[in-house]
Every structure is written in C-alpha cells, then in structure tokens.
C-alpha cells in the first residue's frame, strides 16, 4: 500500500482490514479458538474410544458377533 492510500491517517488502513474481515468470514477471538480446540479434542477422543469399544466388543463376542436375530 503506497503513501497516497493513506491521506487521512489510518482510515484507509481500517477500510482494508474491514474488507479482509469480510472476505475471511467470522474471525474467532482467542477464547473462542481455545474453546473450539478443546471441544474438537474431546470429540476426537470420544470417537477414538467408540472405535476401541467396538473393536474390543467384537473380540469379546467372537465369531458369534455376526449371529443375531433379524
């Protein structure tokens, strides 16, 4: 950005930043990012636990796991 772009101090810079914000959509605050990260980790752990649970239960049930009344 050249000098000619900021004849009114910081005004033109502010406009550019607002434009960038519009393009990027909603910008998360640090607190929101931290909360989102902790929720994502919790979901990942829950899904991993579910996979392990199904794996162990398959071993426990043995070959009979596929035998079930319809």
């Amino acid at each position: 950005m050249g000098r000619a772009d900021r004849p009114f101090g910081n005004v033109s810079i502010g406009i550019v930043m607002n434009k960038q914000r519009d393009d990027d959509g909603i910008v998360l605050t640090e607190a929101q990012k931290r909360a989102q990260r902790s929720r994502s980790i919790a979901i990942a752990l829950a899904l991993a636990a579910l996979v392990i649970l199904f794996y162990v239960m398959t071993l426990v049930k043995g070959p009979g796991v596929l035998v079930r009344p319809i």
Binding site: A35, R39, L53, F54, M57
Partner: protein, 319 residues
C-alpha cells in the same frame, strides 16, 4: 393454570436471545455439566445394582458397555432437560448457574448435544448388548424429556410422582442388559425408586417453595400448601418402607438386606413424622429427610450389591 403460563412466558426472550451465529465459548466442562453428572452417578449406581444382581454372568466388558450407554443416555436426557428448561432454570437459585441460562452453551447446542448422545447411547446399547435394553433406555429418555420435562413438570403438582418413573428405570435396564428379559425382582427395584422419589423431592420443595413459585413450577407445596405436602410425604414414605423390605420378604435377598431395609425404613418414617409435626418453618426436618432419603436409597442398593452381586462374585472366586 396461571403458574404454567407464567413459566411459559419466559421462553420467548431467552429463545430470541439465543443465536447460533455467534461462535460458541462453551468448554468441555460446560458440556459435562449439561449431562447432570450427580444425577448420572445415581443412575449408574442403580443400573450397576440391577446388572449385578441379575442371574447369569455377563462379560465384564459387556457390563461396562451397558453401564456406559446407560450413563450417556442419562446424560443425554439431562442435556435435553436443560435445553427445554433454560427459562425456568434462569429463575431458580439452585439452577441459575447452569450452562444454558448463563449463556455459556446456546440452547441449540444443548439440543444437538442431547439428541446426538441419546441416539448414540441407544444404538450402541442395542448393537453391543441387546435391543430390549436399548428400547427401555430409549423409552426412559423419552419419558424424562417429553412426559416429565415438557408435559408434567409445568402442568401438575403430580409432576415428580409420575415423572419419577424415569429415574426408576435404570436398575431395570441393567437387569435386562444382563438377562435379556424382565421379572419381578427388577420391578421391585423400580417400585422402590418410584415411591422414594416423591418424599425425596417434596422434602426439597418444602424448603425451596419460593424458588419453585418464582419459576412457575407447580410443585405440591406451591399449589397445595405445606400441610398437604407433609401428609403426602408421610403417605408415600409409608408405602416406600414396606416396598423397601419386600425383596427380603419375597426371598430375593438375605437377612442383612432385610435388617438394613427395616432399620433405615423406621428412620425414614420417623423423619417423615417429624416433617409432619414440625410447624413453620419446617426447614430443619425437611432438610433432614431430604439428606437421609439419599442415604436410605444408597444403603438399600449398596447392601443388595454386596449380598447378591459383588458378595456372590467374591464367594465364587474364593471357592
């Protein structure tokens, strides 16, 4: 009923203020709080007893899976209850710090969380344990959320009498998870919790009357007054105590359970009588009954667990 409409009026502003457009600040702890961990622990304990006293043997991993699904199902019901009741929760001292009324969790997030957890709990229980237990769990969640929370809680002073059934189902689900069928024993366990619920919650409501009245919840002391509630507490306690002894009378349990049920039953009746006799404010007697009722239920189920469940397991391992 004016109380009901007063409670319902508060839903508007809260629902209008809730927006999913704002990125959430909810933490994992907030979501755990949505699951009502204290209620969940009681549900898991009673379900564990139902599972342990059932005849036959279930693989420990399958037992763990059943308890996990029951716990998650209870958590889902808690989250859906907090979603629907956010307006009245905001008005009561005891519940105003919950995640939805404080705005830490948006109502839509609580709804999605509850529906997702509930669906997972039922399907996983059905796939990995058995479908009768899964159907009972689904019915329990439906009963607590739709029958109790949405319908009864705001419309009748009998809300916790009928709604109490939701809290009484877990030992039955545990039993069905272990056996795949129902019999008289789990029905007795159901009846004990069912008749325990009214004296327990009415004792609480007696010293929280203003809280419930402010929120527009037609609890018995709010609608019928203190005197009527005290009589009802004694009536339900009088039904509860013989029911507590019934498993021993039917020969399902040993002498230790019979003596525990009789001794703690006498104390329950004495405390119920004290609540009836104490004039305003009945707070001390009500608090005593409320606190002891928790110990009463815990003792009955703990002795049952030792005598029929873990006790038998220890004996089998030793011989």
């Amino acid at each position: 009923m004016s109380l009901v409409s007063a409670g319902a009026d508060f839903r508007g502003p809260l629902a209008a203020g809730a927006s999913l457009a704002e990125p959430s600040l909810a933490t994992v702890g907030d979501y755990l709080a949505l699951m009502k961990p204290r209620v969940m622990s009681l549900v898991v304990f009673t379900a564990l007893v139902g599972l342990a006293v059932a005849p036959g043997s279930l693989h420990p991993v399958t037992s763990f899976t059943a308890l996990l699904c029951i716990a998650v199902g209870a958590g889902a019901a808690g989250a859906l209850n907090m979603w629907y009741d956010a307006d009245v929760d905001a008005l009561m001292t005891r519940t105003s710090r919950r995640p939805v009324p404080t705005g830490r969790v948006q109502p839509g997030e609580a709804l999605a969380f509850g529906l997702t957890l509930g669906s997972f709990a039922v399907v996983v229980l059905g796939l990995l344990v058995n479908w009768l237990a899964a159907a009972l769990l689904a019915f329990t969640i439906f009963f607590y959320v739709v029958i109790y929370t949405v319908w009864l809680k705001r419309s009748t002073p009998q809300n916790i009498v009928i709604g109490g059934a939701a809290g009484a189902f877990p030992p039955m689900i545990g039993w069905v998870a272990a056996t795949g069928s129902l019999s008289l024993e789990p029905v007795l366990l159901f009846l004990i919790i069912f008749f325990w619920t009214p004296p327990h919650f009415w004792a609480l409501a007696l010293y929280r009357t203003e809280d419930y009245a402010r929120a527009g919840i037609p609890m018995l002391p709010v609608v019928a007054g203190d005197a009527s509630t005290r009589w009802q507490i004694l009536l339900y306690t009088s039904i509860l105590v013989p029911l507590g002894i019934a498993p021993w009378l039917f020969g399902f349990t040993g002498a230790l359970y019979g003596m525990t049920a009789a001794a703690t039953g006498v104390i329950m009746l004495a405390l119920g009588w004290q609540v009836l006799r104490e004039r305003r404010p009945a707070e001390r007697a009500s608090r005593n009954l409320f606190a002891f009722s928790i110990l009463y239920l815990f003792l009955l189920f703990a002795v049952l667990l030792v005598e029929r469940g873990w006790g038998g397991l220890i004996v089998r391992l030793a011989t």
